[in-house]
């Protein structure tokens, strides 16, 4: 079996909030692997700690107020990123592990041309001379499917549409051909039709460049078409993980079930899509006050007294290879409770 490209073990990223509001345990013991060339989807509602997880990987968490607890491990190709010195870390950022952000419009620097932004990583990591950097930028624009790259290379961000900006962001991230691309809600800010195009583009680039993708989204529907495996996050923890077909065929965590019920089917109208996450009652609590016991119990239709008292560990579902499908839910020990009491 191949070695994972990225190993995250027991990652804990806390924020010390001002005014003595307590500690926000934004990411609280998350573990997962990303294998070379695969796409791993991380899914969860807003506020579950997905962004903090992704920022923690490259140590981009603002410190203070944030800090990654010792005992956490983030290993990329055998190197623990959490103990690397800043220059070694910078050599990895943008070069071997790249990132794209949710808001393409604000993630581009308004005073630089598209070409300058795209070339930045190549200049930083490969000390590419100006002329070659420009040629590389044009080549990247062509790669991400932007028409008239020779002209676009001199445009400023405000001259681009949202979808165009996200393509530029992708070009920026991929200049150095990273082995891992972390994409944090890459399509959330975009129209539905543009969303599909961007996902298609990511898919094609992944195949062409042979990179792994960590795809973060709140939308299980996006994961279904793109990811090989899925990690479902809730309240700073992994609550379920499985291969994508397995997860969709046998969702075991009530939260996953809820998310799945919320995925719009092809016949769903736009008006219904808008309110899609409301199918799970309630909302994600604040990270400074996760509920005791199972963190999902206040919103869970099956919860019983054990759920309020005891926090469930990540249990092996016993399906397929050991560990391939794991769930953080007491239902696994008492499956007959799954039928909700009338």
């Amino acid at each position: 079996m191949t070695e994972p490209l990225l190993r995250v073990r027991d990652l804990k990223t806390y924020f010390v909030t001002e005014r003595g509001g307590g500690t926000a345990r934004a990411v609280d013991g998350v573990s997962f692997d990303v294998y070379p060339g695969e796409t791993l989807g991380i899914v969860g509602e807003s506020g579950c700690g997905k962004t903090v997880t992704s920022l923690s990987i490259l140590r981009l968490i603002p410190e203070p107020p944030g800090h990654i607890l010792s005992g956490s491990l983030i290993e990329f190709e055998g190197r623990n990123l959490l103990t690397l010195r800043p220059p070694e870390l910078r050599a990895i950022r943008g070069n071997e592990v790249a990132m794209i952000f949710q808001e393409p419009m604000t993630s581009l620097n308004p005073v630089f041309t598209v070409g300058d932004q795209i070339a930045e990583a190549a200049i930083v990591h490969q000390r590419l001379p100006r002329k070659q950097a420009r040629a590389r930028a044009i080549e990247m624009l062509r790669l991400v499917g932007i028409p008239d790259p020779e002209e676009r290379v001199d445009h400023y961000p405000h001259q681009l549409s949202g979808g165009m900006s996200q393509r530029v962001m992708i070009a920026m991230a991929l200049v150095c051909h990273p082995k891992l691309l972390i994409a944090d809600e890459p399509t959330t800010a975009l129209d539905v039709t543009i969303q599909a195009q961007i996902l298609e583009l990511l898919d094609r680039l992944q195949a062409e460049l042979g990179m792994a993708v960590l795809l973060i989204t709140h939308d299980l529907g996006i994961v279904a078409g793109t990811s090989d495996r899925v990690v479902v996050m809730y309240a700073g923890q992994v609550v379920e993980t499985a291969a994508t077909p397995e997860l969709f065929a046998h969702p075991l965590h009530p939260y996953t079930e809820g998310l799945m019920a919320a995925v719009p089917r092809i016949d769903t109208r736009v008006s219904q899509v808008r309110g899609r996450l409301h199918t799970i009652p309630g909302q994600v609590p604040a990270a400074s006050g996760w509920p005791a016991g199972c963190r999902f119990h206040p919103r869970c239709p099956y919860a019983w007294d054990r759920c309020t008292a005891e926090e469930p560990p990540l249990l092996d579902a016993g399906r397929g290879e050991p560990g391939s499908h794991a769930v953080r839910c007491w239902l696994l020990t008492e499956p007959r409770r799954r039928t909700p009491q009338a």
Partner: protein, 308 residues
């Protein structure tokens, strides 16, 4: 005043007009330029600045007499404006127009150079304070508080009093060194908000070093407010230089500056008002021009209007 001087003056006007025309032509291409000239006073302000800059640069051509020559100390003392002396002469029989022309070099030069020193220091301090936080920020900002709470003119008086005769270069340096506090606050505030912007996170995610992030990704975004504050600041530096020179501790006397020209004429305001009036007018016009251009720049460079 001879033919050569009149021709040179006409030439200076022509050059200034041409400069404004060229600027308008270039500006019409972009939305920023169009916003700049949408200000009614922008063209006028630009013309005034271009004119005085040209005159200062070509001073030996434009000035009919050497600035300090005293042809007839008795007969030509405080002579009113005439064809030979279009702005009259001062108490030492020196030609006021010639001194005004050479004074433009000194006054504009001090204004621009001192502002350059102040803006550079202010931008550096503000950027470091805003980006570094931790202990650097509070230390720098307390220093700025101290600097801002001291009345500048007294600080300058003190410094100047320590030297017998301050060379002009030292004057520039002293004005610059005491003038960066406000700029640093402005830059720090901008950097504080910019550093939270996603494109800064994106730059960090690309592996850029902190120095590169500040210099290449953050500071260019501060350029607009910095340019505006510099344009407005030159005016206040010129006024400061005038005050110091008026008090006799600025530019030493035989060298003409607009400030010490006013001082030279102050005892003869009743009999020879032109000796103080014209340098005073020059200062007022240039400061107004700088303010007009600064305001127009503020609108032109405002990124909030970028899509317009």
């Amino acid at each position: 005043m001879n033919v050569r001087a009149w021709l040179a003056l006409l030439g200076a006007v022509a050059v200034a007009l041409a400069a404004v025309g060229e600027a308008r032509r270039l500006a019409a291409r972009g939305s920023r330029g169009r916003r700049f000239f949408r200000h009614g006073t922008a063209s006028g302000g630009l013309f005034v600045l271009a004119f005085f800059t040209t005159v200062a640069a070509a001073a030996p051509l434009v000035a009919p007499y050497p600035p300090s020559s005293m042809p007839e100390i008795v007969a030509l003392q405080n002579a009113p404006p005439s064809l030979a002396h279009p702005l009259g002469t001062d108490v030492y029989s020196r030609d006021v127009w010639s001194r005004l022309v050479y004074g433009a070099r000194v006054s504009l030069g001090i204004g621009a150079l001192a502002m350059l020193v102040a803006v550079t220091l202010g931008a550096a301090a503000g950027a470091v304070a805003g980006y570094a936080r931790r202990w650097v920020d509070p230390v720098l900002m307390r220093l700025v508080d101290v600097g801002l709470s001291m009345p500048r003119i007294f600080v300058l008086l003190m410094v100047v009093a320590l030297w017998e005769r301050l060379p002009v270069s030292a004057l520039v340096l002293v004005i610059g060194l005491t003038g960066w506090f406000g700029t640093s606050r402005l830059v720090r505030a901008e950097v504080l908000s910019l550093r939270e912007r996603e494109f800064v996170a994106a730059a960090r995610a690309l592996g850029a070093r902190p120095a590169r992030i500040i210099l290449r990704h953050v500071l260019p975004n501060v350029a607009a407010p910095l340019i505006v504050s510099a344009a407005l600041g030159i005016g206040s530096v010129m006024l400061l230089e005038a005050s110091l020179s008026f008090l006799g501790i600025g530019v030493p006397s035989p060298v003409p500056s607009w400030g010490n020209m006013i001082a030279d004429g102050k005892d003869h305001l009743a009999t020879a008002p032109w000796t103080s009036l014209f340098p005073g007018l020059a200062i007022a016009i240039v400061v107004m021009a700088l303010n007009a251009v600064g305001d127009a720049l503020r609108d032109a460079l405002d990124p909030g209007q970028e899509t317009a």
